[in-house]
């Protein structure tokens, strides 16, 4: 699969802080790639560097083989950028808004009208064509902004927190729209901290923290890697007195790094074994007469992955 977005050793320093600290990304063509990270992880800085809005302190970034630092003008032609916080020209109508950006990209007048109609159909704003932008809802403005990134038919879309501030329905609509764009051949790099959404939408993710990529790949692959360090959650039948002996029993078993009793009566087990070892542990627990009601792996979604990865790579851990 051809790589269409690539960063290598990307560094961005501000006085007194390092926003991006040697970030490496490799995104294949046609992917919906999620950039996951807490606030201050460097997601927005990375996207703004890729969008040619920021100069990196060091490192290299390419989109479709074009260096965004050495040839930003050419890079702007193959990317569409939607910032996390954006304003709209409130004195314009919806079609004028798209017409303005189409002019900026040199789209001939003969094609603008048709293109604007198609884009409004795509983002489901055709009936708002002659409405003023300021009169649109937040979700509609978000979709209009997304439409504006498409006027020049870019290969790559850089979307910074596109779902922030949207209600659940608007989020679902946006998600469907992004899937449609992927079907149209676009590569989408999307940053968000609303992890369940990314999990449903993204083909791959990179978990970023403190300006570094901590994990990168398909969610299932990252999870598989993490299984060696998975968290098992066990709930027992019975009263609280049964918990402590059970915790002590689990703590003595092979591959168990830790066993902690939670206030809610569950036991959380740090487990380094693989799937067969997990099955053996469960069988041994039942054989030992522990009244097990539930026995499950805690790290089953992106949110858990994110927490695990970032917990393993706190500054202290990294150091």
């Amino acid at each position: 699969m051809t790589s269409i977005v690539r960063t290598s050793g990307l560094i961005k320093r501000y006085p007194g802080t390092v926003a991006v600290a040697g970030l490496d990304l490799d995104i294949a063509e046609g992917e919906i790639f999620g950039l996951v990270g807490p606030n201050g992880a460097g997601k927005t800085t990375t996207l703004r560097i890729l969008a040619t809005l920021l100069q990196p302190t060091a490192g290299e970034a390419e989109i479709a083989g074009i260096s965004v630092t050495r040839n930003p003008d050419a890079a702007r032609r193959v990317l569409g950028f939607m910032p996390d916080v954006f304003g709209v020209y409130d004195d314009m109508k919806v079609w004028e808004y798209l017409d303005f950006f189409a002019r900026c990209y040199g789209i001939p007048a003969s094609r603008r009208r048709q293109m604007i109609g198609d884009l409004l159909d795509l983002v489901d704003l055709a009936d708002k064509r002659n409405s003023y932008v300021q009169g649109l809802s937040r979700g509609m403005q978000q979709r209009l902004c997304l439409a504006h990134t498409l006027v020049h038919d870019p290969q790559v879309l850089l979307l910074d927190e596109p779902a922030s501030g949207l209600d659940p329905r608007a989020r679902v609509e946006l998600r469907e729209l992004l899937r449609e764009l992927r079907a149209l051949g676009k590569t989408i790099l999307i940053s968000s901290h609303i992890l369940p959404e990314l999990e449903e939408l993204c083909t791959s993710v990179a978990i970023v923290d403190h300006g570094r990529v901590l994990a990168q790949g398909r969610v299932s692959d990252i999870e598989r890697r993490l299984r060696a360090g998975a968290v098992l959650r066990v709930k027992l039948i019975g009263d609280e007195p049964t918990v402590e002996p059970a915790r002590a029993w689990f703590a003595d078993q092979p591959f168990v790094a830790s066993a902690t009793a939670n206030p809610d009566g569950t036991i959380e087990i740090g487990f380094r074994g693989d799937d067969p070892a997990t099955a053996r542990l469960l069988a041994a627990a039942i054989g030992a007469g522990l009244p097990i009601m539930t026995f499950a792996r805690a790290a089953s979604d992106l949110e858990e992955l994110f927490l695990q990865v970032t917990a393993q790579n706190t500054p202290e851990a990294v150091a």
């Binding site: 100069q55 302190t57 314009m92 303005f100 398909r218």
Partner: protein, 382 residues
């Protein structure tokens, strides 16, 4: 970066080939043509005008402005009704006076409104958070600045242009040629563009509109009035022995469009002028303009009363009175082209400064030096 097992990229999944020929895909495929170096100018210009000219506000302002101008003109006509029956010479003088008054008002409008209209053009985009969207388009920084400047000055041009018929009424009385009108509006245009460019520069250099507007007005005031004030102060210096010190450089007055406009009016009269290579000793002949002295900056061209020793001592101007230096006949028209040239030199400097300030990633670089210097910094472990 600390290498962890998790940090190794995992090969991307095999995706289905994109449906690049699917219905909507083919329809919206509109790859951007090369817009050309200045194509973005028209895009920004049209967008700004759509916003500015929409609604009643713009037209109400022009109507009020023209109504005030017409009212002043009508009042002048009423005051000068006697000239209509006196004779051709008086009528000519009256026409020149009308022309001078309109040009003075237009200059005032330009100097006052050009910074106001341009100082928010870039900073407002930043405040409204629309500038990022504009910045990721292929429009060059120069085109952004030129488009903004053009849009800011277009409305001002409409305001000034709408007054041309009023200024042209002076033709009815005579004494004014079309070339005088052209000269006057040439000064207005170059002044407007120059002051507007300063406003855009301030707007690009500052994040907020309020300080940008204040800065634009302060800089304009310093250039237009401050320099003239400096000239007047320097020119009034007298040495300890009572002799007059050398005159300050005339260039201090070049950026004063009022002085240039007065020179144009003076040129129209074909008589003596008060701005030129040697200002102070020369006085206007108040009767050369039919008793109507063209607008002039304070202190410039005023009569210089002479004491018994022949030195200037100050005092009220009494034409032909004793002790006053006689007017020196200096043909008008030698000064205003210098103002035009000065503004023509200032404007590109301000535009260049604005283009450099508009965005850190859009700065002009020397040809062949495509890699910013900052990128030469080697990564270090943090």
């Amino acid at each position: 970066m600390t290498d962890t097992p998790l940090a190794q990229p995992i090969p991307a999944p095999d995706l289905e080939p994109p449906d690049a020929t699917g219905g909507t895909a083919a329809a919206i495929a509109a790859p951007g043509a090369d817009p050309g170096r200045f194509a973005g100018v028209s895009a920004i210009w049209i967008r700004e005008l759509r916003g500015r000219m929409r609604g009643k506000r713009a037209f109400i302002f022009i109507t009020i402005y023209l109504a005030i101008l017409t009212g002043l003109f009508w009042a002048a006509l009423q005051a000068g009704r006697e000239f209509w029956t006196i004779g051709a010479l008086e009528s000519i003088s009256f026409g020149r006076g009308i022309f001078a008054a309109v040009m003075f008002i237009e200059t005032l409008v330009i100097v006052a409104l050009a910074p106001a209209y341009t100082a928010g053009l870039i900073s407002q985009e930043r405040e409204k958070q629309t500038f990022d969207l504009l910045s990721v388009t292929p429009i060059s920084s120069l085109s952004i600045i030129l488009g903004k400047l053009l849009s800011g000055l277009s409305y001002l041009g409409l305001v000034v242009g709408a007054s041309i018929p009023i200024a042209s009424v002076a033709f009815l009385f005579g004494g004014i040629d079309v070339i005088d009108l052209v000269r006057g509006y040439t000064i207005l245009v170059v002044t407007g563009v120059g002051v507007g460019a300063i406003g855009v520069w301030c707007s690009a250099a500052m994040k907020r509109t309020q300080p940008a507007t204040v800065s634009a007005f302060v800089i304009t005031a310093l250039l237009v009035l401050g320099a003239t004030g400096s000239w007047i102060i320097l020119n009034s210096r007298v040495a300890e022995d009572g002799t007059r010190l050398p005159q300050p450089p005339e260039a201090l007055l070049y950026l004063n469009p009022f002085a240039a406009m007065a020179d144009v009016n003076c040129q129209a009269t074909g008589s003596t002028c008060f701005v030129g290579d040697s200002l102070a000793p020369r006085v206007p002949d108040p009767f050369a303009n039919g008793g109507l002295i063209a607008p002039q900056p304070a202190g410039v061209g005023q009569a210089v009363p002479l004491g018994p020793d022949g030195m200037p001592v100050g005092g009220a101007f009494v034409p032909g009175g004793p002790g006053f230096q006689q007017p020196v006949s200096v043909p008008g028209g030698g000064f205003w082209p210098k103002t035009v040239i000065t503004y023509l030199l200032l404007t590109p400097l301000a535009i260049f400064g604005a283009a450099q300030s508009v965005s850190p990633t859009r700065r002009w670089r020397w040809p062949g030096r495509s890699r910013p210097r900052a990128l030469a910094v080697e990564p270090t472990d943090d």
